[in-house]
Amino acid sequence: MTAAMISRPVYPGLSPDQYAKTHLILCEGEGAAAVLDMAAKAPKEFFSRALILFCPAGTGYEPKLAALSPKSLWVLPTIATAMFRLRGVLATATMGTRVYAAGTEPFIGSVLQETLAVGIDHKSVFTEHRGSAKRRVQCVHCKGCTDDVTASPFTCTHCGLTLFVRDHYSRRLGAFQGVCVDAEVPGEVPPVEELYR
């Protein structure tokens, strides 16, 4: 099922906002490379007004990000801890702040959930997908979300149903939709494909 799904997010890529007074940059894993690429086309003083929240996810980009001399660089161990910090920053942030997010889709989706909650349209957040194509998937039957899904079908970690991963995406949940693949004939499951490595 590869037909274009209008809810399938697109990530146009990071580019510096020339008017923003503060740049709030969130990156995860290989997403840091997107920030470094943006640095190449950003004006010199850009990072003096930048706050960077970074989840390394096993990568070693921290020294390179630090070398950009951002106003602040916070390194957080997980998406959850990064989102907790993001909520704190958003609570006192003012207009003129541009939000950037780069990394895997579950990471970008988490950022967009937090920014939406304070009234920021998803189109206002500059995004770039880097790294794994893994997905967060919500089971439409039990409503449980499974993180780091790389194959379809897969087994729902909550209810155990075998789920087909659709391109149908929910911004509210930051997750794709997973639908029971063997509802008609239980046990008749198509071969597992590693689609989202």
Binding site: D17, Y19, A20, K21, L90, A93, T94, M95, G96, T97, R98, L116, V118, G119, I120, D121, K123, S124
Partner: protein
Amino acid sequence: MSAPTEIRVRVAEAEAVTPAIKRLKLVPLTSTPLPDFSGGAHTVVHYTDGPRHVRNPYSLMGSPFDPSAYQISVLRVPDSRGGSALIHDGVHEGTEITITSPINLFPIDRRARRHILIAGGIGITPFMAMTAQLDREGADFQLHYAMRDRASGAYWKLLKSIYGHRVHTYFDDTNETLALTRLLDGQPLGTHLYVCGPAGMIDWVLKTAREAGWPEENVHFERFAAPPPGKPFQVALARSKRTIDVAPRESVLEAIEAAGIEPQFLCRGGACGQCETAVLEADGTLHHNDHYLSDDEKASGKKMMICVSRFEGARLVLDL
């Protein structure tokens, strides 16, 4: 978006709010209630006086929570094509007119953390309904309202009496100016800005907001362009196999309607995109007066918004 349906209404009240602004309260002729609307919605008033037809968009300014009547304000525009003057002078208490069901092209973004409303002159009307809605919903809002002077400004005393310190007024004749850059500075992230007023004011607000680093998704505006007059021209309609004359003070849409053809429309002000029409042939220059088509689309010469745009040249053929 489906085409608007027409509703017959009676003018229950006609009040001269200022020498140039008339408030009309419109009630349905039957027991069928008027359709619900949300703050920022407008209706198109269709008024006929002998040979003259007017179809003008007006913001609904009553409370969205009062389903018994609609309220609009008609500014008598000097030098206008006569439409507003016709309605201003010809419509009285008891007059029956036709309106379209409301369409909202200027809605409140309810995800916003704060709403800043900026009105200039008659641009206050959509905000009359929006403030009622925001107040009822307990939203954080403030209204900044600029007027020429105290006498010609409408509803500012009323708004101040209801919303108190949330309403800020600025009068040109006493040199009070809205310090916009300062207002925009330091607003909480997630604040949304709405502006309605003269074209120059809208342009100024959009530019100031952009330079203050506000994302365009947080800035909302509504401008209805009145169809600008111009030189007369002819338009050939390929599907109807008709050739229509467009008079100097008439839009293509109005000329086509006068010939008995009913193209799609919603706002009649170059904003909504409903009357977008394919241009099959244009030997001459299209004058795009809308705010809907992108610059690239305008340059391509393949489309025009027949409610406000004009043509100058030898031959224009539209897919109508």
